[in-house]
C-alpha cells in the first residue's frame, strides 16, 4: 500500500510500500526508522535517502563504486553479526554526500556507509584503513565533470 508524504524538498511524493526501507537503529545521530531511496532513474549516481517519518529529513547518497572504484567495506565481526550481513558487497551500499556550493568540493563519507538488504538498512562503521569521513567525491574522476571545466 503506497504512502504519500509531503516532503519539504520535493513536495508530495508517493512511496510504494515495497520501497520503504526499515532502519532498525536509524541513521547515526539522526534517528528515523523508515526511509526510501528517491532516484531520477535506476542508474543515477546520486540519489536521495528520504525519511518517511520526518518529511524535512533527506540526505543525498551515492553509490560509492561509481566514484571510488577500489572502495572496500570491512565490517568488524560484531557489526556483521548485528546486521546479519557478512559480505557488504552482496548488499546495496550507499555513502552520504556532503554537498557544498562548489560541486568539486563535495565529499562522501566512506567511513560510515549505509548497507541496504531485503528492505532493511543499517549505517555501519567501515574498518577499512582507506575510508575517510570526507573523501572528495570527484577526485577520482579524471574526466571533467561540468561543461565549464571542459571548456
Amino acid at each position: 500500500m503506497p504512502l504519500t508524504i509531503d516532503t519539504t524538498r520535493f513536495g508530495p511524493l508517493e512511496i510504494a510500500g515495497e520501497a520503504v526501507i526499515e532502519f532498525p537503529a536509524g541513521l547515526i545521530g539522526l534517528g528515523g526508522s523508515r526511509y526510501a531511496l528517491l532516484a531520477n532513474d535506476e542508474n543515477a549516481a546520486i540519489v536521495w535517502l528520504q525519511s518517511i517519518d520526518d518529511p524535512s529529513l533527506a540526505l543525498p547518497v551515492a553509490n560509492p563504486w561509481q566514484f571510488f572504484a577500489d572502495y572496500e567495506v570491512k565490517l568488524s565481526d560484531s557489526e556483521a553479526e548485528r546486521i546479519g550481513i557478512t559480505d557488504p558487497a552482496a548488499a546495496d551500499v550507499y555513502v552520504t554526500v556532503r554537498a557544498t556550493q562548489a560541486i568539486e568540493d563535495c565529499t562522501a563519507n566512506l567511513r560510515a556507509p549505509i548497507v541496504v538488504s531485503a528492505g532493511r538498512g543499517w549505517q555501519v562503521i567501515n574498518e577499512s584503513e582507506h575510508a575517510p569521513m570526507r573523501a572528495a567525491l570527484f577526485a577520482g574522476i579524471s574526466e571533467p565533470v561540468t561543461a565549464e571545466t571542459a571548456a
Partner: protein, 77 residues
C-alpha cells in the same frame, strides 16, 4: 551523571542485558569489555560524534544542490 568507581575486573550492569566490564587499567588507558544485545550498536564516542556531524551536514543539502528525484520516484527497492 551517575559516577561509579570500579576496580579492574569489576563490572557495571545497565539493566539486565548490558554489562560493562572494566578489564584492565594500564597507565592512562582502560580496557573495557561490553556485553550487549547484538542489535545494539556500540561506537567509540569520537567516531559516533563525527558520523553524526557528517550526517547532519549531509541532511542540510538543498534540493537544488543535487539531482532532484523524478515525481514518480520512490519505486526503487
Amino acid at each position: 551523571m551517575l559516577i561509579i568507581t570500579r576496580r579492574p575486573n569489576e563490572r557495571i550492569m545497565l539493566g539486565d542485558d548490558i554489562t560493562i566490564h572494566v578489564m584492565e587499567i594500564v597507565g592512562n588507558s582502560a580496557r573495557i569489555g561490553i556485553d550487549a544485545p547484538k542489535s545494539l550498536p556500540v561506537y567509540r564516542e569520537e567516531i559516533w560524534a563525527a558520523v553524526k556531524e557528517e550526517n547532519q551536514a549531509s541532511a542540510r543539502a538543498e534540493a537544488d544542490s543535487m539531482p532532484r528525484p523524478a515525481s514518480d520516484a520512490g519505486a526503487r527497492v
